[in-house]
Symmetry: C2
Subunit: 214 residues, 2 copies
């Protein structure tokens, strides 16, 4: 299988973790987002949405990180990244979507580019925006995780799940923008647990071949 | 079951459609987003993420629209809102997430409030931002839908799916901001098909009791 990826894409990072957790080998194809390589016609032929990541698997391309992880779960179920019970699955999906829908979209590259180019924001303005959505979103994530008896060693129980595949890249982004992470002790405890695992560590941006080349 | 909803929330609109398609009756509880009622402590007790919608079902609250729809699908499978084959399911999820992660988050109320209050944008500036993300996102959705032989009378084949539950509210938002919808003929054809169905029509913002009251 081929993964179209960019070291700094946190959506691609989620999928790299999931593939590693499931022990699935993949061939990385590097698409340099900051250079706009995702807008090239040859990539549109593979991924009509023009976004990263795309996984070509079972001879079909799939885009959107959570759709990819759900597909892996349905076709390569072990080890599982979703619990068996429907309420547990709903909880893991809800935590995952909180990151994927409420935090990350506001801070991705094209939103920041709009702030710079169309709204004339300088780096301070961009950083303030970035940290605002990190703080807003991580506070919601912390509230949800801290309150639930289902939070264990990982976001849901004692094994990593799709929720952890989303949490970890989001914390990496927060660190990159020097966000204050003090108010989110549960999030940071889970982050620490995850990062002890090779599957998470090997997926991190700085360890990708395209990071080393850039 | 109880649905915490607001007539204009397009995430709540998705869930209203899904409940209607599945023929599930629910008791609506109105939370006025524009008045900040979602930030009241009594709502935090139900929904720690503090976001709409929340469905209380099987005595548990579930937040995040797509997590709710997936839960309904797993526990009330007929009629289905996801196809049976894993690749079809991945496609429907990918189309749904394209709306839920790439378009809607940039245009929700709190992003627009930040533009007005922190970045000093006037209504023209806010509208330009709004329409920019509609155009960017619907172009991606159009490209994906127009190219695929799996697009039928609805987004995936000839029955409505979760993808249509996401597409329709997004088009409502686009219309509300007078976006030019000419460049998206496939999206608009699907929108038209959906709106012939009572399940979609009854879920629309203007037909909600809280719209009529406000």
């Amino acid at each position: 299988m081929r993964l179209y990826t960019y070291f700094r894409s946190s959506a691609a990072f989620r999928v790299r973790i999931a593939l590693n957790l499931k022990g699935l080998a993949y061939e990385p194809h590097f698409v340099h987002l900051a250079k706009g390589e995702h807008r090239r016609p040859e990539y549109a032929g593979i991924a009509p949405q023009g976004l990263l990541p795309t996984l070509v698997i079972d001879e079909q391309p799939i885009s959107q990180s959570l759709a990819i992880i759900e597909y892996l779960e349905e076709t390569r179920p072990n080890p599982p990244l979703l619990p068996k019970d429907p309420l547990g699955r709903a909880r893991v999906r809800s935590l995952s979507l909180l990151v994927a829908c409420e935090i990350h979209p506001l801070n991705n590259l094209r939103a920041l580019t709009y702030l710079r180019q169309q709204l004339g924001q300088d780096e301070d303005g961009v950083k303030t925006w970035y940290r605002h959505w990190i703080a807003d979103g991580l506070a919601k994530l912390e509230a949800d995780l801290a309150r639930s008896p289902d939070t264990g060693k990982f976001s849901h129980g004692d094994a990593p799940s799709m929720a952890d595949c989303c949490l970890v890249p989001q914390v990496f982004n927060a660190k990159r923008y020097d966000s204050d992470l003090g108010p989110y002790p549960t999030v940071m405890r889970l982050f620490g647990e995850c990062m002890r695992l090779q599957a998470f560590d090997r997926a991190q941006p700085s360890k990708q071949p395209d990071a080393m080349a850039s």
